[in-house]
Amino acid sequence: MNIVVCMKRVPDTAAKIRVSSNGKTIDESGIEYVINPYDEYAIEEALRIKEKSGGEVIILTLDSSDAQPVVRNALAMGADRAVLLKCAAKPVDSLATAQALAAGLKELNADIILMGKQAVDYDNLQVGPMVGQLLGIPCVSVITKLEIADGKAVARRQIEGGEEVVETTLPAIFTAQKGLNEPRYASLKGIMAAKKKSLVEKDAQSAEECIEVLKMEIPPARKGGRIVGQGIDAVPELVKLLQFEAKVL
């Protein structure tokens, strides 16, 4: 079983975001990068499939600058090797990202492609279904359970008020939602082993971006901080405010 995990390096979720002087991107100075949280679920699932059915887990990432340290963390979790597609500037556009990844994936002959349901930088939620469309293979998005047997997969995907049980042929793409599994931590042994694992850099196939960012800004802060009072004595006043001022009751 050839399992490829598409992984992205993203700012730590607790990072403070500032807009850079061009007004269109974030100021990257001082930002710490981590594995996209949803991709951790994808990596964990890939490792579990390998542990059960054998095969190889390959990390595929698209980046403009040095993604190696973060990719090594994925190798330390237990992935076998990594391919880093180098691009001139990290695309903002999901389609351009999907096109570059699809080109990279064609060479890797995957039976199963896993990725996070979204990267928590641009929060686009689009790359999985786009790659599926480009490669002409099914994509099941936002999954919370995956079972592989007899060359087929059965996945559960989240929908409003429940789940869909989806059966698909392989090869297929699955995008991971929290709840799919509990990602493992890299062990010290894993970290040592990762240093020796293969990490190949290649030029990414360049793709034209169709999204144009006009402006990035920090949203106005909510005017919060109005403490109505302490304990149950404040309850009648709160209900009045909700009823007559906010008009939400």
Binding site: T169, I227, Q230, V248
Partner: protein, 328 residues
């Protein structure tokens, strides 16, 4: 003559989602600025009967792709229908709800047409003759305004953010059938079963009132107190990640960066500190109330109204007071 705006009017089990009407309203607003018609597309099986209803919400024309194969959602089947409708209707912009269905469908359609898609927009406007979408990025810590260099621009709109248009029963619209040219065999990923969560419970993403609990609930028992408040005010219970990871409540109820993004009218956060990753999921709520015993909890900085106190005393009192006030 400007290109038209195609709206994917999501239905499940022969019923339109509220977000389908919200999207038609947004499309109407755009069309009034750049011209063109609002064309509503309904995809499914046996849905011709309900399609006409969309005229009342502002659809100038209605297109249906009605086929047994499209009874349940599939990316392949539904995207084929949307692509066909785009081609037949000179669509310059395609709007969909940012529901689980819309968020799966929009990118597949965009890739098939080689065009741009912007997901989970909280604003949409016309600037210099182009459709511009505003969407939160970096977990809502920043906003971007984006447009597409190619047509059609595909945009999904966050549910509960755009108003439902007033229905005008007197309106009618022509209904046209299209063929998605899709066979059962060409759908490789098929829905075998739809498993309903807690029966009849409204999803967090669609709820207009959410009562959410965090680590301060102390255990699964604590959530009963919240259920009672939610029942009294027609709300749904949500949770922070701490409560979910502790196993007190299901993953489907998690609000936040790794949970659901919600935009209710009222969000009552009980025993939730207000970590940045939690705010990522709920800060576009219209009114936020926080109940926390720690006056320094960051949640108070974004809450419209706060009560400092023990939630196990405050929440039942709040339930009683609301019942008294609104006669629930």
């Amino acid at each position: 003559m400007m290109a038209n705006i195609l709206v994917f009017a999501e239905q499940r089990d022969g019923k339109f989602k509220k977000s389908a009407y919200e999207v038609i309203g947004a499309a109407k607003n755009i069309a009034s600025q750049i011209g063109g018609q609002v064309v509503a597309l309904v995809v499914g099986s046996g849905i011709e009967g309900i399609a006409g209803e969309l005229a009342g919400y502002g659809a100038d024309k209605i297109v249906v792709a009605d086929n047994e194969v499209l009874k349940l959602y599939s990316t392949a089947g539904y995207s084929a229908a949307v692509v066909e409708a785009v081609k037949k209707n000179d669509a310059g912009c395609v709007l969909m709800p940012a529901s689980f269905m819309g968020k799966d469908l929009a990118p597949a359609v965009a890739a098939a047409l080689g065009t741009a898609s912007a997901t989970d927009a909280i604003g949409i406007e016309v600037a210099d003759g182009a459709v511009v979408a505003t969407r939160p990025v970096y977990g809502g810590k920043s906003l971007v305004k984006v447009k597409s260099k190619k047509a059609p621009f595909i945009v999904t709109l966050r549910p509960n953010v755009f108003p439902v248009p007033q229905k005008d029963e007197s309106k009618s619209a022509a209904i046209e059938k299209i063929d998605a040219h899709i066979s059962a065999d060409s759908i490789k990923a098929k829905v075998k079963e739809v498993v309903a969560g807690a029966a009849g419970k409204l999803d967090l993403t669609e709820a207009s009132i959410i009562v959410a609990g965090g680590r301060g609930m102390k255990g699964p028992e604590g959530f009963k107190v919240l259920e009672e408040l939610a029942d009294a005010i027609g709300g749904v219970v949500g949770a922070s990640r701490s409560a979910v990871d502790a196993g007190w409540i299901s993953q489907a109820d998690q609000v936040g960066q790794t949970g659901k993004v919600v935009s209710p009218t009222l969000y009552i956060a009980c025993g939730i500190s207000g970590a940045i990753q939690h705010l990522a999921g709920m800060s576009s709520s219209k009114c936020i109330v926080a109940i926390n015993k720690d006056p320094e909890a960051p949640i108070f900085q974004i809450a419209d109204f706060g009560i400092v106190g023990d939630l196990f005393e405050v929440v039942p009192a709040l339930k009683a007071e609301i019942k008294k006030a609104v006669g629930g």
